[in-house]
Symmetry: C2
Subunit: 102 residues, 2 copies
DNA sequence: GCCGTAGTACGATCCCTGTCGAACCACCAC
DNA sequence: GTGGTGGTTCGACAGGGATCGTACTACGGC
């Protein structure tokens, strides 16, 4: 629908944008949740305490920063972590973030 | 002078604050510079293109997040990365950030 | 075709923060 | 003491972004 889900290529991912994307509590929660679901999930089900339109905003931020990959599936959208790309570009970063005890 | 340089203890350092602190181009530059000077440096000498008062602001942000340790020395202030603490809490995070080719 | 559900788009609001300039403080050398 | 240099504080300002509500679109089931 509408915007056809632009994702940056691996070599277009900038560390500043990634950090910016991770520097929000809600998005951190999303990333943590995605880390536990390799196959990806529909983020609408997460208990984030935020409206749908706000969630859309956060997912776009994560997607445009290159943190998350989103693929449409029926009436839903499945989001998954771009682990491979992030690990290749910034080895350890994601693990470090996820290692933090909540 | 004035505020006596409060630093969070290791167990008070929060991942959200650290990411927030790293999510600024100027502060990223500072962190990168500090990474190359284990012994610490006076940040006033860095070519950051920002006024002194802005620099003070950024250093406070980094210090209060637990990213940087600052010790007064004469008329200067020496800043250094809290590598040990960050590596202990979020192993890989700092290395991942620094691995990014500018 | 119709409806419900999942998600997006847009506009408005509000707060946070990065920035600066100006005034000030602290230390050191003389 | 005097002055200079390195930093801080304070207030002001502007831009960004997190949030929401409302209106809208798309897909799937009946």
């Amino acid at each position: 629908m509408t915007t056809l889900l632009a994702h940056p290529e691996r070599d277009e991912i900038r560390i500043a944008s990634v950090l910016q994307a991770l520097a929000d509590p809600v998005r951190l929660q999303i990333v943590r949740a995605l880390a536990e679901h390799e196959e990806g999930i529909s983020c609408g089900v997460l208990p984030l305490g935020v409206t749908a339109s706000t969630l859309t905003h956060h997912l776009r931020t994560l997607r445009e920063a290159g943190v998350v990959r989103v693929r449409p599936q029926g009436t839903s959208r499945i989001s998954s972590l771009r682990r491979d790309d992030l690990d290749a570009l910034f080895p350890g970063l994601l693990d470090g973030v996820l290692a933090a005890k909540r």
